[in-house]
């Protein structure tokens, strides 16, 4: 179990705290989805949990043992799969695995072969990493992250820019990690992935933990539904905000509301002279919850 107690962190010369009194508990074998807009403090929290930065204030406890007191061997069981392809492009798949295995003192070659099989890299072991496709590079990145048989693994945007098949492979493997009792802390801009993989959600904003709870609670919360529509002509972000929503990457307005709210917005859109290319109103989702939550948050 990981227990975060009153964690505060401030970067030198920064006006605001990167983390402000964060308290959080993650049970062993649990998958926690860490959400928050850019600059919310996700990266800082993960860096502190991984021991990459010293704790300034507060405490991080692993199974009743403070992080700073963990032995080298215990620290080596914490793993990271970063968004970058963090391996040597001029080494082959097998050579990369062997090098990182040696770094962790893992001598069991069968373990490496299992990882290759698990990530379906068997046909590519002799290829230089630089010559792999984006999806295969992601799989190698993921495989390297499991070399040390971690008890805690950080997965940071590990499915960015890959083909559906590789995404499926990786997501299946992540699901298998929690089944094996490995604690997973997962960040992604694909909220649907988090919805699929994580049982717990933590939402950070402006360095504060603004929500922490089970995914099931979120999906059943308050009868909220997601409304998504595209105006013709396209509306401005200010206009979208005036309707209580925000523009997504496709320029569609998105907000969480109930049935009465959706009917009211439909009327307002028409009254203000907009046509709609599409107007969708459906069940609640993590995405709806997230967007609604952020819209309600006010900067400190």
């Amino acid at each position: 179990m990981i227990r975060i107690e009153n964690l505060c962190h401030r970067y030198p010369a920064a006006a605001a705290a990167a983390l402000d009194s964060v308290c959080l508990t993650v049970a062993q074998g649990e998958a926690l989805g860490l959400l928050g807009p850019n600059g919310a403090g996700k990266t800082t929290l993960m860096s502190l949990l991984a021991g990459l930065q010293p704790v300034q204030q507060g405490q991080i406890v692993f199974d009743d043992q403070p992080l700073v007191e963990l032995s080298r061997a215990q620290k080596q069981r914490i793993s990271l799969v970063p968004q970058d392809f963090a391996f040597y492009p001029l080494l082959s798949v097998w050579e990369n695995l062997c090098f990182f295995a040696a770094l962790y003192g893992v001598k069991d070659k069968q373990h490496l072969r299992n990882l290759i099989k698990q990530t379906d890299l068997g046909a590519h072991t002799a290829k230089l990493a630089k010559n792999l496709s984006g999806g295969l590079k992601r799989r190698l990145n993921f495989a390297i992250g499991q070399i040390n048989r971690p008890t805690l693994i950080f997965l940071d945007e590990i499915t960015v820019g890959i083909d559906p098949e590789s995404r499926r492979f990786i997501l299946e493997n992540v699901a298998a990690l929690t089944a094996e009792g490995i604690t997973v802390i997962y960040t992604s801009h694909y909220l649907q992935e988090i919805e699929t993989l994580c049982s717990q959600i933590a939402l950070l904003n402006h360095g504060r933990l603004v929500y922490h709870g089970a995914l099931g609670d979120i999906l059943q919360q308050g009868g909220q539904h997601i409304l998504r529509f595209q105006t013709v002509p396209p509306c401005s972000p200010a206009q979208a905000a005036a309707w209580g929503g925000s523009l997504d990457a496709q320029g569609a307005v998105q907000l969480a509301t109930d049935e009465a709210g959706a009917a009211h917005i439909w009327q307002m859109v028409r009254q203000q002279g907009f046509q709609t290319a599409f107007f969708q109103f459906g069940h609640g989702s993590l995405e709806a919850f997230y967007l609604d939550f952020l819209n309600r948050q006010v900067a400190p």
């Binding site: 990266t43 990459l52 970058d84 963090a86 391996f87 040597y88 492009p89 990182f100 950080f154």
Partner: protein, 415 residues
């Protein structure tokens, strides 16, 4: 319109590419300054040369020859033949640029003149030696012919009787003989260059290959920095550095692991150049490059140069944030070290101030040590000071690089 925007965009991009601009402006300026100062010595190469002239006191040629050399701004120390041994030692120690020994006991007939011996160190620059030989030749010939002319004042141009005709005929025949002697004298070698080895004995004349190969070998060894910095920049750019940190790997062991293969590559460069010099150059009609003396001092020197090159390379690699920065910082630094260290411009052509500055370049230490072993045939004892400087430079750079890398493993890791 599009064209103007494209031009504007290029200006903006260029203005933000500080490394590119550094290459375009800072490097040429640095080179212009260094090379201009290095080549700014106006005086003739031989000016100020310090030589000793050892010869028999009874031979009047020596004093006249010394005087003649003095008119060319050469400082001549006259000595007896018995002092030759002491003067050779002085030459070895660098107290003299050249020792001229005149074995002729007296001003004999031109035809009987024995060539003078020019004792020089094998690492003497060839162009300097060539200039000096020209001056010596000119001065000695002038001295000898002047003295010959002084003793041939015979004239018979007054009466026109049979006795006088006979006398004129005899004088003309004597003059013909004199001119013939001068002609023969001018065609014969007046100097014999002898190279003084570290053991005090004459050694073989070094080839042009022996003069040039060490400089470019040292230059090449320092370029080990390029692949080294590529790997380290790649580790930062791909965030592999974070993985290394997460694995709790120590900075010391990671750096040591990097040094071993690059050290071996340096040794391979050294051995490869020697083999190419020995076996390939003769096939191209060029003198073979051969080492003189024992191989061990060269092996130690190669290790010392490698340590200095790796220390420098590693320091640049940890300080540079990108490969481009490493190439500009490191590559530029190597070229400046080479320009200062006598690799590109021989140190003797530099003005005194620049010559002093050149002694701060590790490449100068390496080149001096290599020349001492290869050309002057000195042993380990004579080059240990240069080697020590190289080792200290390398060790200081390595320690600094290790400290920076250790800090980077803590601060430059990221999610």
């Amino acid at each position: 319109m599009m064209f103007l925007h494209a031009v504007y965009k290029e200006f903006r991009l260029l203005g933000r590419d500080l490394h590119g601009l550094a290459v375009l402006f800072a490097m040429p300026i640095a080179f212009m300054l260094i090379m201009s100062v290095a080549l700014s010595k106006d005086a003739e190469p031989h000016a100020g040369a310090q030589i000793a002239l050892a010869g028999a006191a009874a031979n009047p040629v020596n004093a006249a020859f010394a005087h003649q050399l003095g008119t060319h701004d050469i400082k001549v120390q006259e000595a007896a033949l018995a002092d030759t041994g002491r003067l050779k030692t002085l030459l070895q120690q660098g107290g003299l640029d050249m020792l001229v020994v005149n074995p002729n006991a007296e001003a004999a007939a031109l035809a009987d003149d024995v060539p003078l011996q020019l004792w020089i160190k094998p690492d003497t620059e060839r162009s300097w030696l060539s200039a000096m030989r020209g001056i010596l030749q000119q001065s000695y010939t002038q001295t000898r012919i002047n003295m010959l002319a002084d003793h041939n004042e015979s004239r018979a141009d007054a009466p026109a009787g049979p006795q006088a005709r006979l006398l004129r005929q005899n004088i003309n025949e004597a003059l013909q003989q004199t001119f013939s002697d001068i002609d023969g004298y001018l065609n014969q070698a007046q100097f014999e260059a002898i190279y003084l080895g570290g053991s005090g004995q004459a050694v073989q004349k070094p080839t042009s290959v022996q003069h040039s190969v060490p400089a470019w070998l040292i230059f090449g060894m320092f370029f080990i920095m390029i692949p080294l910095s590529n790997v380290m920049a790649m580790e930062r750019q791909t965030n592999t550095l974070t993985r290394l940190r997460m694995a709790q790997a120590s900075a010391g062991s990671l750096l040591l692991a990097k040094l071993v293969p690059y050290f071996l590559i340096n040794q391979l460069q050294f051995a490869g150049m020697l083999l190419i010099g020995r076996y390939l150059l003769p096939l191209l009609g060029i003198d073979a490059f051969t080492l003189s003396g024992s191989i061990w001092p060269y092996a130690l020197l190669s290790c010392a140069i490698s340590l200095a090159a790796l220390g420098y390379g590693l320091l640049v690699s940890v300080l540079a944030k990108t490969t481009e920065q490493a190439v500009v910082l490191g590559g530029g630094g190597i070229i400046i070290m080479a320009a200062l260290g006598g690799i590109m411009v021989p140190a003797y052509v530099m003005p005194d101030s620049m010559h002093t500055i050149s002694q701060i370049s590790p490449m100068a230490w390496a080149l001096q040590a290599f020349h001492q072993l290869l050309l002057n045939r000195h042993g380990f004892a004579q080059v240990q000071h240069s080697m020590l400087l190289l080792v200290l430079f390398g060790a200081a750079c390595l320690l600094l690089a290790a400290a920076v890398y250790r800090k980077q493993l803590k601060t430059q890791v990221r999610f």
